[in-house]
Subunit: 153 residues, 2 copies
Amino acid sequence: MGISEDIKQEKFKSELSKAIINIIYTNGWLQQSQVNLFKPHGLTTPQYNVLRILRGQHPKPATINLLIDRMLDKSSNASRIVDRLESKGLVDRKQCSGDRRAVDVFISSRGLELLKKIDEELEEWESGLNTLSETDCKTLSDLLDKLRSKSQL
Amino acid sequence: MGISEDIKQEKFKSELSKAIINIIYTNGWLQQSQVNLFKPHGLTTPQYNVLRILRGQHPKPATINLLIDRMLDKSSNASRIVDRLESKGLVDRKQCSGDRRAVDVFISSRGLELLKKIDEELEEWESGLNTLSETDCKTLSDLLDKLRSKSQL
DNA sequence: CATGCTTATATGTCGTAACATATAATGTAA
DNA sequence: TTACATTATATGTTACGACATATAAGCATG
């Protein structure tokens, strides 16, 4: 049971090409299982990530700019993601006192509760992923680092 | 230069958690560099993938259903992706003779030319990624397979 | 053949990424 | 202080994934 069976492709152009396809496929597999975890709680992955950043700041607020900085995929859509969290009552938005251009975003108590519940499930989820030893994990991380290192892209 | 520096996070909950974040980050890094390659040619990644499937069938057509089957991320949006390829003159759509519900999609000669050009660039791109040995690539693929194996997700 | 089920495709909605532009507040330099 | 650039956020557009529904054609069973 490897990538070959999973995507029903026997031959690959090279070992590198196979490894790259495997990274992309494994990423999809990971993301999908997280989506399945968030969905019953009415959250998307980006919404969960924003909530987590806000909890990291709690009880201090975060500006939209701070959210953009911290979101791994730095998009300029933080504003709309906060819109949706706000309409679900998971965050509050107030005009920033110091800078009237900026907006202070706070996680609400409902947001904190939801996050707590989800994070317990995430904990279980990760402990279900026990197929790799510590050494395996380190090797995997090192190889990924190496793949990205000093290549001319 | 590893994932720690890249995402500016020193501590991770576990080696597994670090490896997972590394997979997601590396995936983004790979996807982005492919997007940069396709963009000058006016193609998105899904559009490129559909074109490649069509070339695999050439000179036979593919139905929308076949495209859905082969697209790694099996969405039901093949129809709209073909719309966009058609409006760029890269594919042709004809009603299927045998089954009037189905549609035969063909890659056009312009589509074939474009794909040829892009694939030369992809070749160069992959050969720029020469930081991993054959053995490294195999180990990496094996570890990813192992991560996905018989876990209870 | 008529009825109903299934299949192939298309279309509509929502949330998102990526990108461009708009607006208002702030900072700066003459 | 006025004019201009910059910053923070919001909004608009396009393409997409995921999902639901619509429509038309084929199939199957009576």
